[in-house]
């Protein structure tokens, strides 16, 4: 199935928010959800544990209406960040058009960030996709925390961004950088389309 269907004039875009546990993936989706006008709000499906941790995944369908004659729909997913839910992560990752890697800016979370990023690479590879070709952006979340607790965007870029991806400092709790990140990944996904037929394929 292609991402852009010219026959039915539909654009469907699956974006997966990936990252270590508690990095703020669900918060990103919640903020997006909070900004959708009431008349266009769908249902955000969130399967969470009692302690409010994502057990399976979050799913937020976004109907952007008709854009350039295309019924445009974004489907935002998050994966459970905890290490032991890798099977779920792989499942959610299947068919993704783009990935937002939400990194936790806290200094003590650096190893988790790296581990999660490696896990992402491995899972992408398992789907038989070259990670270099999958549209992806990095979000450095929690940049609002006191500076002594976090790594700066530059430091995180140095540590995590070896693919020279677009990066977005963010404070997802307050919405800072959330839509910028989403715009960034959407642009990457759509831009890839313009580079030829292969870009219209999902992973």
């Amino acid at each position: 199935m292609s991402l852009v269907n010219f026959t039915t004039r539909e654009i469907t875009c699956k974006i997966v928010y990936y990252g270590p546990g508690r990095s703020g993936k669900t918060t990103n989706l919640q903020y997006v959800y909070s900004q959708v006008p009431a008349d266009r709000k769908g249902r955000m499906v969130s399967l969470a544990t009692q302690t409010d941790r994502t057990l399976f995944f979050d799913f937020l369908p976004l109907d952007l209406g008709t854009i350039s004659g295309f019924a445009t729909k974004f489907q935002l997913y998050t994966v459970p960040g905890q290490v032991y839910y890798n099977a779920t992560r792989k499942l959610v990752l299947n068919g993704a058009d783009g990935v937002v890697f939400v990194a936790d800016s806290q200094v003590r979370q650096l190893d988790e960030n790296i581990e999660s990023l490696q896990n992402l690479q491995a899972n992408i590879l398992e789907h038989g996709v070259d990670a270099r070709t999958l549209p992806m952006v990095l979000q450095f979340n929690k940049q609002d925390l006191p500076s002594e607790l976090i790594l700066s965007a530059e430091e995180l870029d140095e540590a995590l961004n070896f693919r020279n991806l677009q990066t977005f400092p963010a404070d997802a709790l307050h919405g800072v950088g959330v839509f910028e990140t989403l715009k960034g990944v959407a642009a990457e996904v759509l831009r890839r389309l313009s580079q030829g037929g292969s870009g219209a394929r999902r992973m």
Binding site: T7, I11, Q35, I67, T72, F179, G196
Partner: protein, 654 residues
């Protein structure tokens, strides 16, 4: 542009926010080009920049009416400049601008949109400053913040005085309100204007708007306006913050890092729309543009149009390149076909890139139908031609034609008796022309073939085809033109071809057994044209030439010969190469098969008859005239072996 009389210093309310600007402006107006030059005033919209600028103009004129003061918005300046450029009057425009004593230029922030004007403004500012003329500019931002502004211009504009006008403070707002109310001749109840000034306005125009609303309200309502009513009126009934200090807003929790935009979702949708337009649909735009372009050039674009309905995004670059390549191929084929038949290039298949194969086949058919005219015989070259004193001039003329075809001797007319090598020389010229210009079409044929082909073409209704066939040629070499005698239609065609060839600088060459003036039955318009070039004669070969011919003919057969035999054969009277060849052939036929050398004996036997006895030989010799019989005309036609009387009787009895 005329100055607005309302904009004078007298009408400009000076407050803390604009005092510096007003003072600087007045100073400049009082003594142009002596204090601040240029003066650059920047402020947000509605704070009085234009007012100050025009006030400078008025005051300067009041003080010295002979000054030439020019007030222009940047847009007007640009328009004048562009009009001058369009009229080719740019120098007049510059001269006129340099005669200005005070140049007042408003809204220069639009320079960002007129990059070409930046250089012009820089030049003008420098020149005016050098000539001690005043320049005052206004802008909504400082020079350094004007996008894409030339660094030199930034430096130049900042080099005088840079002053800004801030939003008016309460006192200034109140003063402005008082001034405006007074100008209108209206009185406001106490406290109203203060209340209005408290409401605040980011610029003076807004304040004037407030005054207008208050005056209108008073005029319609008839009653007097209270400060509360004025506040409610100006805030459009929105909750008015209490004038008296009220309770403090809630103490803020730890501040949020960045305030969030009110409608991020709409902004997001808008951004995605732009991206979709730029990416998803961009390829359609490219295909659409290509369709329009190629249709405009008259090509069918069915294939590209089909692409627009693709479900998948095709390889646009590849598809467009492929289409362009097919168009290029069609153009090439059309050009090729046009060379054969100009009308063929208009065939529909050359306009449809989906039918390149058909166009190729069509071109092949066109080419097939228009085969090039007969070309020279390969075997007849200059190397094979035996040159002697009798042919020297003709050969040199032939070489000259080859070296400079179409220009030196055009036409070349070779005349001479039959068998002297005219055809050989003509074909040799043709072959050399082909060698000198590979791919050239050299038509070389006899006049008889020329006529025959024309007759066939007329029969088949392909006269145009026949004409194109010859007109394509780069040279026309026609043998034995005496055969054109009485062929009026052929002469007519040759006449036209002759003119076309000479006009195009193409070479013509003709051979004949007689001079042009002796060509009976050939129209004078042709014979005179033949004479107009170079007429050269090939005479019968002399003895030396015949000797060379004999040796070469024997060598070609790998036969050695006694010198005496060669000399003997060369000494025989022969008026043409063909006659020499006949002699040699006969001698070779008489050769002893066991011998590899032609002896003089065999030669004599061949030439003089069967009898080997000297008496017999003498007898035969006696029957052969020593000289060429002018009536017979050719040695070939002499009967060498007369039959005996008995043989003649048998023939007669039969």
């Amino acid at each position: 542009m005329d100055l607005n009389p309302r904009f004078r210093f007298e009408g400009f309310v000076v407050g803390a926010s604009n005092r510096l600007a007003a003072t600087a402006a007045r100073t400049v107006a009082e003594s142009p080009a002596s204090a601040y030059n240029p003066l650059f005033i920047y402020a947000k919209s509605g704070l009085g920049k234009t007012h100050l600028l025009q006030a400078i103009g008025f005051l300067a004129l009041e003080r010295e009416s002979t000054l030439r003061v020019e007030y222009l918005t940047l847009e007007e300046f640009v328009e004048r400049y562009q009009a001058a450029v369009a009229a080719g009057q740019i120098e007049a425009f510059r001269r006129s601008a340099l005669e200005t004593d005070v140049l007042l230029l408003d809204d220069v922030q639009f320079l960002a949109e007129h990059r070409e004007m930046q250089a012009e403004l820089l030049r003008l500012t420098e020149a005016l400053q050098a000539a001690e003329r005043q320049v005052v500019l206004t802008c909504d931002r400082p020079p350094g913040e004007i996008a894409d502004l030339d660094e030199r211009l930034v430096s130049r504009l900042s080099g005088g005085l840079l002053v800004d006008i801030a939003a008016p403070d309460f006192e200034t707002r109140l003063a402005i309100l008082h001034r405006k109310v007074t100008e209108r001749g209206v009185e406001m109840p106490p406290g109203v204007l203060e209340t209005v000034a408290e409401v605040g306005a980011s610029n003076v125009r807004e304040l004037i708007g407030y005054v207008n609303r208050l005056i209108a309200f008073q005029a319609v309502g008839g009653g007097s306006l209270t400060p509360e009513a004025a506040r409610a009126l100006l805030t459009d009934g929105l909750p008015v913050p209490p004038v008296a200090p009220g309770p403090e807003p809630r103490p803020s929790a730890p501040a949020r890092p960045v305030p969030v935009e009110p409608d991020e979702f709409s902004a997001f949708v808008s951004a995605i729309s732009t991206t979709v337009a730029q990416t998803v649909e961009a390829w359609r735009s490219r295909v659409g543009e290509a369709v329009l372009r190629w249709q405009g050039e008259g090509y069918r674009t069915h294939h590209l149009e089909q692409l627009l309905f693709s479900e998948e995004i095709p390889d646009i670059a590849g598809e467009l390149a492929q289409f362009a390549a097919r168009v290029e191929e069609l153009r090439r084929l059309a050009g090729e076909a046009a060379a054969f038949d100009p009308a063929a290039a208009g065939h529909a298949c050359f306009r449809d890139p989906d039918q390149v194969e058909e166009a190729r086949a069509f071109t092949a058919r066109v080419k097939e139908g228009v085969e090039p005219p007969p070309s020279p015989s390969r075997g007849l070259s200059f190397a094979e031609f035996i040159q002697g004193a009798a042919s020297d001039t003709a050969v040199r003329a032939a070489h000259a034609v080859v070296e400079d075809p179409g220009r030196r001797f055009n036409p070349l007319y070779i005349t001479g008796p039959s068998g002297t090598g005219k055809t050989h020389l003509l074909n040799a010229v043709g072959n050399e022309l082909v060698a000198g210009r590979p791919g050239a079409i050299i038509a070389c044929l006899s006049a008889q073939t020329f006529t025959d082909e024309l007759v066939q073409a007329i029969d088949a209704g392909r006269i145009e085809w026949w004409r194109r066939r010859f007109r394509r040629a780069d040279a026309l070499l026609l043998d034995d033109v005496q055969l054109l005698a009485g062929r009026d239609a052929t002469q007519e065609e040759l006449f036209n071809l002759f003119n076309a060839f000479t006009d195009a600088g193409k070479q013509l060459a003709f051979t004949s057994d007689r001079l042009p003036t002796q060509l009976s039955g050939v129209a004078p318009r042709l014979t005179t044209r033949f004479e107009g070039g170079l007429v050269v004669e090939l005479a019968p070969p002399d003895r030396t030439t015949r000797g060379v011919m004999v040796r070469r003919l024997l060598a070609a057969r790998n036969v050695a010969a006694e010198d005496d035999a060669v000399e003997y054969l060369a000494a025989r009277p022969a008026d043409s190469a063909r006659a020499v060849q006949g002699l040699v052939n006969r001698a070779l036929a008489r050769m002893d098969p066991s011998s590899e050398t032609l002896t003089v004996h065999a030669a004599r036997l061949a030439v003089e008859g069967r009898s080997q006895r000297p008496s017999q030989m003498q007898a035969i010799s006696a029957t052969v005239p020593a000289g060429l019989d002018p009536v017979i005309g050719s040695r070939e036609k002499v009967v060498w072996d007369w039959p005996g009387a008995a043989d003649r009787l048998i023939e007669e009895l039969r």
